[in-house]
Amino acid sequence: MSGQASSAPKGGPNWILLIVGGLAILGFLGLLAFGFGEDEQETVFSERPAPDFELEDLDGKLQKLSGQDKPVVLNFWATWCVPCKAEHPVLLQNASLYPDVQFFGVLYGDNPAKARAYLKGAGSAYPTLMDPTGAIAAAYGVTGVPETFFIDDTQVMRYRHNGPVDMNVMDYGLKAIR
């Protein structure tokens, strides 16, 4: 009743606010919408060349990524990491199923003697590399173990998996590189 009468408009609509605010809203929403297109696991690593490495394995043999003519599965692990032990049989099984793929383990923040002892008990089907300075883990951007990288035969990273792998993950990753 008295609402409109007592406070009659003393100016007009604020066009500057509307235009500037409208543009700001458009920009802001565009930015958030852009975020949807991004999927951490897929886009960052597809088409990215895998960092090269030249590391000694537990038997003292030098292993290189460059020059491999097979696709490579690179698995970062440690003996103090419980999920790593859980995924170990899956990796062993896949390594024997797919002789056309080169599997490597990379020891992450652990003692080689312990790793040797563990592999003796748990079984081993592929070389485990030592990365004493952690430089290779850093180059690959490992966030924690276990983490597994799938690299095709042109040394391009096709997929990465954070956490222990299972048969489904291995299927997906191997399909991407074989």
Partner: protein
Amino acid sequence: MVSLIGRTLVLLALGACAAGGVAGLVAGKTRSPQAWKLSIAMGLAFAALMTLATGVMEYALLVHDFSVSYVAQVGSTSTPVAITMVSLWSSLEGSILFWGFVLAAATGVFAWSMRTRDPEHGSYALGVLLLIGAFFTFLVAGVANPFLPTPGAIPLDGPGPNALLQNHVLMIIHPPALYMGYVTMAVPFAMAASALLAGRLEASWMRSLRRWTLFSWSWLSLGLLLGGWWSYEVLGWGGYWAWDPVENAAFMPWLTATAFVHSSQVMERRGQFKGWTLTLGLASFLLTMLGTFMTRSGVFNSVHAFGEGPIGPIFLGFIAVCLVFSLLLLGLRLHHLEPKNKMAGVVSREAVFLLNNLLFVALTFTVLIGTLYPLIREAYDGARISVGEPYFNKMSLPVMVAILFFMGVGPALPWGDGNLERAGKRLAVPTAVSVVVGAVLFALGVRDFWPLATFVTAAFAGVTSIRELIEPAVNRAKKKGENLLVAWWQYASRSRAKVGAYTAHLGIVALAIGIGGSAGYKQVLDVTLTQGEAQEVLGYTLVFEGYESQQQPHRRSEVTWVRVYRGDRDLGRVDPRMNHYDTMAQPIGTPAVISAGPGYFGRLAPSEDLYLSLTRLSDDHRAVSVRVMTHPVIWWVWIGGLMLFGGGLLASWPGLVKLKEKRGAKTKQTVDA
């Protein structure tokens, strides 16, 4: 069956919201009493239906009815009953249902409280609120429906809720507290929108608006505090705040709501800052929506993220509607609310409020930019970066200290035109105290600039706040010859809002001390302990006594026993542990926290936390690697946070005296009639 009942209730709630929302807006426009009555009835119906729906879901969870998809997703017969009850908010669908329930309850209370109020304001506000409710109910009924029947064969057991939820009691209460803050922020938004739609804003409406904001603000404060506390007690990295995007998302509306609570007082008393204040009110809700979006959309990487789903784009659409609606309101309707007075002078409380408001908004923008920058950068050149603590700490620390300073100045100044000399007199005591505190701390070896500045400013603001809490009582005691305690009680019960406000101010002072001490003077050391051997670490003696593996239905824990001595005093045996959940790849640590140190008041006011976090356990369990940290005065952080919550609630509650007055006025009216 349960699934069918649940879906029916949700659909009815959706109908009630939509009908009530439209009726409310129509009632605001046409002043139709029928439409107004309808929208109130629909508001109450919304509350009742969502309460029932939530009750039905709780029932399904408790009886392990795996024919309901959500129960099959988060339920497990091996989960303890208490955890089963709270698994309502452990996953996306349930959390949105819970969200809708809180919103419905707030809408019900609001509708009930509006029965006797000015219908024009009330109906617009209820209309907007119910339309927001319609959106959330739509989510529950559609893309995030927890009541869908389980597809395929009904399982005999489920995986149980998120492991993190099962790890600590604080995790059980942190989400609902935060939801209370987030969701109820819709009420101030609706009320601010209604002021703009109606084209008028009276002091009484502003007062209700502030109360509701204070209510949300209190819960938001509690939610933030519990989140930080949980992170400290559980995650094992030893901190309580990491400037994670989602923490920031909850912090930003807290900042704007704090600014709102202050500028609304200037508006109420002096008729100024109307547009500014309403903008803050609208922005607080919009920022809570942004926060919700962040956790539910998968756009941001964070420990809080629920993962991607169809809900993200829909939510973004809702944010767009809310933003455009707010902008149109401000652009097209604000000129109906012209300021009554010009600012009186620089030496006035409103001038300080304005300054503090600007600082709060500046801080909000700082946090917003830091949070969004990774997205901006990625959109620009595809680079993936993250903005870390150094940026936020560097940018926000000076602003926070300045806010603390003005918090000490403001209460000493009068409303309106102030007198510089009088203000100087009022500030003499706080200044003197802070100088003494600074000198003593300096002499004790506190030499770093920011911690020292924080403590000195905290002392300054602390004295002002304490004076506001006791001075009126002392005056009253003198004037009326009452006992000081009686006088204080009389004062406190008459000025609840004021006591609440200064309690919250003291809470901020406590927080400043806690943060300054624990962040500025924490010590960290990684050590390896061998079983049976004593080792000196950071002034404590630690003995690794043994190892134990504990098997529980839902988890397996590797427990290490460490005895702690300080000098000759045995502080007890603690158990930092590592928990393995079937559903989770990474183990979750539980650090051991012991409140020790040379506390002058013993355990009541410990001056330091000793914090042990298990990082590695040798295969033979004879050696253990532990991250050892000491956090001085960290308890002040928790105490300060609780004071914010308590003070805010106290200030938001309608005062007893006011209620009595209202009742008196009503009786009088009836008599007159």
